[in-house]
Each structure stands twice: as C-alpha cells, then as structure tokens.
C-alpha cells in the first residue's frame, strides 16, 4: 500500500539526513580528508534521490481527493516529517558549502582545526549508503570540484522546497504528533511500523554486531588495565 512505501522511504531519508549531519560536523576538523569530501558528495546525492522520490509519492497521495479524513491526516503528518527533513538537509548543505570553501584541502599548508577527532567517518557514510564498505574512487581535487556541484544542488533543493510550499496546501501546525514526550526512550525504530524493508533490517543487523563488539572490547581492556594496575 502507498502508506507503507512512504514510511519506508521516509525512514531512509531520515537516516541519510542524520548521517549527513554527522559528516558535515567533521568538516574543517582534523578528521577532514578527501575521503570525507567524497562521502559527503555521495551521501548528498543519495539524499536528493530519496527526496525526489518521497516528494513525488507524497504529492500524488495528497492530491488525491478521494482519500478519507484519517488517511489525509496521516499523509499530512508524513508531509511534515518530509519537509522537516528537507529543511535540515538544506541547511546542512549550505553549511557544508561554506565550511568546505573556508577549509580547502589541496593547499601547501592545511589549516584544519585540531578538534581532537582523528578517526575516519567511513562507517557513518556506509550506514547512510546502506553498504558494508565504502569505495573511494574520486580525484584528488574533489574538495574544489565538488563545491560547484554543491552550489547547483543547493539551488535545486531550494527550488524544490519552494515548489513544495506552493503546490501542497498543508498546515504544519495543525498536525498532531503520534509520539508523546519521552518516546525516544522506547526501543521501536521506524515511523510507525515494525521493521519494514531491506534498508532497516541491514541497519539493525550492523548495529547489534557493533554493540557486541564494543562491549567485549571494553571488558577486555578493563581487565588488562586492572592487571597492569596491580
């Protein structure tokens, strides 16, 4: 049914937006690198694809005059979710342009801020792209070449959002949220369903594996630490 598909796609968009934000936060710091710039580019493109798909789907659903009142309320709620994601994405894209311009990588002396972050962001990007490992195939001047693409993409996104506001008559303040305060403390993940779609399941699998690994790791390290202390 249309609703389920919509929710899956929104979940995916939401995940990519969150990952994109994490990547933008690493820009300009000591974990900035050519790889990070490529990750940003790929994540961004994926986000845009999802955005366009979501928008088409939701606009068709909302334009349908024959749907019931409850259905319409639900679609409006999904619409608010979608537009909020897009707003976040747009701001992050603009900021990544700004910071990317202020911190070029192909210069004789790099001036990256020593923030204490030194690791890479491969895993975050892999999560966004829903793959196991990221492949890096870009040229070494990606930090400048990508900025031009980024500028045109930002204009596209802004245009899309303007069109959205014009064409779809949804009053966002009239939407009532389903989640109450403190809902994030409960363990269910997606928009309103239990695990749907390939994307969510892959993500979940990776998460549990990751958790176990770090727990064991901590226990072992703590044991070694105690041993050396004695």
């Amino acid at each position: 049914m249309g609703k389920e598909e919509c929710k899956t796609m929104l979940d995916a968009l939401n995940k990519v937006t969150a990952c994109y934000r994490h990547l933008v936060i690493a820009l300009g710091s000591t974990s900035d690198s050519q790889n990070l710039r490529e990750e940003l580019k790929k994540t961004r493109k994926k986000a845009q694809e999802l955005a366009v798909a979501n928008r088409t789907k939701l606009t068709t659903l909302l334009k349908d005059k024959t749907i019931s009142k409850e259905d319409r309320a639900e679609y409006e709620r999904l619409w608010v979710l979608f537009s909020s994601s897009m707003e976040l994405l747009e701001v992050d894209m603009k900021r990544s342009l700004e910071i990317g311009q202020d911190f070029p990588l192909k210069v004789p002396t790099r001036h990256l801020i020593q923030t204490g972050m030194t690791g890479n962001t491969n895993a975050v990007a892999a999560r966004a792209m829903s793959v196991q490992n990221m492949k890096y195939e870009a040229d070494s001047n990606i930090d400048t070449a990508d900025l031009r693409d980024l500028q045109s993409e930002i204009t596209q996104v802004s245009q899309m959002m303007e069109e959205m506001e014009m064409k779809v008559q949804v009053a966002p303040w009239a939407v009532v949220a389903k989640q109450e305060a403190g809902a994030e403390l409960k363990s269910n993940m997606s928009v309103g369903n239990s695990s749907v779609g390939v994307i969510s399941i892959c993500g979940l699998g990776k998460l549990t594996r990751g958790k176990q690994f770090t727990f064991l790791h901590v226990v072992i390290k703590f044991a070694i630490f105690l041993l050396f202390k004695c």
Partner: protein, 424 residues
C-alpha cells in the same frame, strides 16, 4: 515549513557588533599552527587517549605574546573566545572562562562555531535534548527538563520528526570510534552550553553573551562607549580605524563629565540639539549656546580659532539650523586629534577600561532580582520594530494598486498592538 521564531534570534542577525567573529576566526586559525600555535597535549581518560587538549595557561601565554598584552587582558580575551564558543573547557564545562592553570580546553569544530547568518534553531535543540534523554536514560538536568517540556508543547507538530531524527543521529554517532564519540559528545554539549545556557544566579560572573545583552538593557550609557573602547583595542590591531572608534564614541550621549573634554562635549551636544530640534525653539537655543560657550567671558568658553568665531558670530545674527556647523566641525577635529588622545591615556579611561575588561558583579538585592526575573522577556528591541515597520511600509508601497481602506485598517491595527509597548 517551520515558523521561525524571530523573537529569540540567538544568531544575532540584527546585531552588527558580531563583526568581530571573522577576526576571532583568524586568531583561531593562527592558534592551530604546528610551530607557532598553542601547544597541545593528549588527554588521558580511563582507557582512551584523545589528542589536541590545550591548557588554560598556554592559551593565555600565547595570546599575551601574540598581541603584546598583559596576562589580565589575555585572560579576558581568552574568556571571550570561550564565551563565544570557539574553545570549550573539558573540565567544569558550564563555566565559560579561561582559568590560568593546567585546566584543559579544546578547539570547537567549525560547524559549531558562532555565525552571523545561521540562527540557532530550536528544532536542533529539541533533537539534542531527545538524544540526551536517550543517553541519560530519561534523567535530564532541571533546566534541560524544563526546556524539553516547553519545546514539546510548542513544537508538538514536529515532535515525530524530532524523535526519529534523534534516534537516527544517536545511532549514526555510534558508528564512530570511541575517542571520536567522546569528542563529539563534548563538542555538542559545549555548543548548547553557549547557546542555551542554564539561567544563572547573580553571584556568578556573566559570560560575554549575557554581558553584551545586559549592557544593552541594564547598564547606563557610558558603558557603551567603554565597550567600544575595549573592542577598539582589539580592532585597532587589525584595522587601525581610529576614525570609526572616535565617531562611535561621540554618537553616544556622554554623561561622564571629565575635566579633559567637558565644555567641548557640552557644546557638541548643544549643536546637535539645535540641528535636530524644533524650529520654534531654534532662535532661543542659538542665543543660549552663544551666551554659554561663545561670547567673551562666557562661563564655558570653548577654544575655537578667530576666523571660525567670526563666521559663527556673524551667522548668529540670523540664526538657522546649521549656523554652528563650522564651529562644531572645528571642535570635532580638535577633540579627535587632541583631547581624545589625552583621554585614552588618562587614568579615568584606564579605570573604566579595567572595569570593562573585568566587569564587577552586579550586587542585586532579593527584590531587584525578582523584578529582573519578571521583566526578563524575549521582547524585540525598538530598533528591530522600527526596521520591521519600515520594511512593511516599503513592501506595501511596492505593491501599488491596493485597496486603501484595507491598508489603513491593517496599519491602525498594528498601531494598536504596538501601543502598550511604546507606552513603556
């Protein structure tokens, strides 16, 4: 679509004094230099080692050396950088000051730097609080809990999005290695301590943002010129624009009667009064000024050269608005070249500068505290209201063929809204 809350615009789009941000960023970049920058050391937590920690004393020493200032001023400068959010403390993270000892600090990532054009969004704060809720398993601090409830109420339509995004961001953060995760948590927490500080009691020293807000509303006028004086030392290093500083110094009504510039400033004020005053009172005012400042043997005689005096006296026979312009310009140049310099070197100025660099704490009593708390509302400053009115008028003028009765009724309705505020 988000209804942007323009009242609490912590991004300060309408406050041009934040032009110092670009300069602060340059200083930050200099501090990163591997040879000539601030020395960094690794921070050892239980089993993790995180690099790029800097000590308070190193920061102060570097600033003192770079700008050739004494440690007291370097300490205030450093505290300003911390208060703005460029550097954050690793211990005692709620106190945004530089301690001149081995306390550790770290540089903030560019995404979390304060910016002129990107306002600090409540949506982001709500997402942060939701993430914190997950991390602390529901046990938030008091002010955080209050903010959470407040945001849940007025951002209710977006709450599903906030919960979803918080969960996803929380999971994405887990994909990074442990040291980076710790750093990220510290960075985010520091960002929100700067931009959503917990409400402070009067006994603690105010960070710079509060200082800026407080002096705009609470402190008497001379502080404005002192703040500019303080900032001017910083700006003079970069731009040597003493013109700007002097002009802004004069633009404030100077109530501090100093021996050095008393009569000249009084004369200046009188001239301004004449220029901008009502036409009816003009003749009287001109005569008054002549008697007080220009006539031979006047009680507050000002020292202008013979030629200017001649022209002015002649003009005063048939006084008009700009009859004192020549004399006023002469006095302006005199003060700028001579008296202002002497003022900057005088003990009075040094005293006030010391107070600006290291402001005294307010000593409010209980009653005043209560009143301050009651009056503390996020209201628009009159400057912004006037700007908005002007913009609206321009907009309405632009869209010309409009039903005039609608326009008039809209304007009168707004006038009624503004009325009670203006009467304050």
């Amino acid at each position: 679509m988000t209804i942007k809350n323009a009242l609490r615009d912590y991004g300060q789009r309408y406050r041009p004094r934040m032009a110092c941000l670009r300069k602060a960023e340059k200083v930050l970049l200099e501090m990163q230099d591997p040879c000539a920058g601030v020395k960094s050391q690794p921070q050892r937590l239980v089993i993790t080692i995180i690099p790029h920690a800097i000590t308070g004393e190193d920061i102060i020493a570097w600033l003192a050396d770079r700008f050739q200032i004494d440690p007291q001023e370097a300490s205030s400068f450093g505290s300003m950088l911390v208060a703005l959010g460029y550097i954050y403390p690793l211990q005692d993270h709620k106190r945004l000051v530089i301690k001149p000892d081995t306390s550790l600090y770290r540089f903030q990532t560019p995404y979390f730097w304060p910016t002129q054009q990107w306002p600090v969004e409540d949506t982001d704060y709500a997402i942060y609080l939701a993430k914190r809720n997950i991390r602390k398993k529901g046990i938030l601090e008091l002010h955080e809990q209050e903010q959470y409830n407040h945001l849940h109420k007025w951002m209710n339509h977006k709450w599903d999005f906030i919960v979803m995004q918080a969960k996803e961001q929380y999971r994405a953060a887990k994909e990074r290695k442990k040291p980076d995760r710790v750093v990220f948590d510290c960075q985010e927490r520091a960002y929100w301590v700067v931009h959503r500080p917990p409400v402070r009691k009067h006994s603690q020293k105010l960070p710079l943002n509060n200082f800026v807000e407080v002096f705009e509303h609470d402190l008497p006028r001379p502080w404005h010129s002192i703040f500019i004086g303080f900032k001017s030392k910083f700006e003079l290093d970069y731009s040597k624009k003493s013109n700007f500083v002097w002009a802004s110094f004069l633009s404030e009504p100077f109530t501090c009667r100093s021996k050095i510039v008393g009569e000249n400033l009084a004369f200046w004020e009188g001239c301004e009064d004449l220029k901008w005053g009502t036409a009816v009172a003009m003749k009287e005012k001109a005569e008054q000024i002549y008697k007080t400042f220009l006539a031979r043997g006047a009680p507050r005689w000002i020292n202008i050269d013979g030629k200017t005096m001649e022209i002015t006296v002649k003009g005063l026979k048939h006084p008009h608005r700009y009859v004192l312009d020549a004399a006023q310009t002469h006095i302006y140049m005199l003060m700028k070249k001579d008296s202002y310099g002497r003022y900057l070197k005088s003990p009075v100025f040094k005293e006030t500068l010391k107070k600006a660099v290291n402001p005294e704490e307010h000593k409010f009593n209980e009653v005043q505290l209560e009143q301050n708390a009651r009056n503390r509302r996020p209201s628009l400053s009159p400057i912004i209201i006037r700007q908005q009115e002007q913009e609206q008028r321009a907009k309405m003028a632009a869209s010309a063929p409009v039903d005039i009765t609608q326009v008039m009724s809209k304007l009168s309705k707004q006038g009624k809204e503004m009325g009670p505020r203006h009467s304050k």
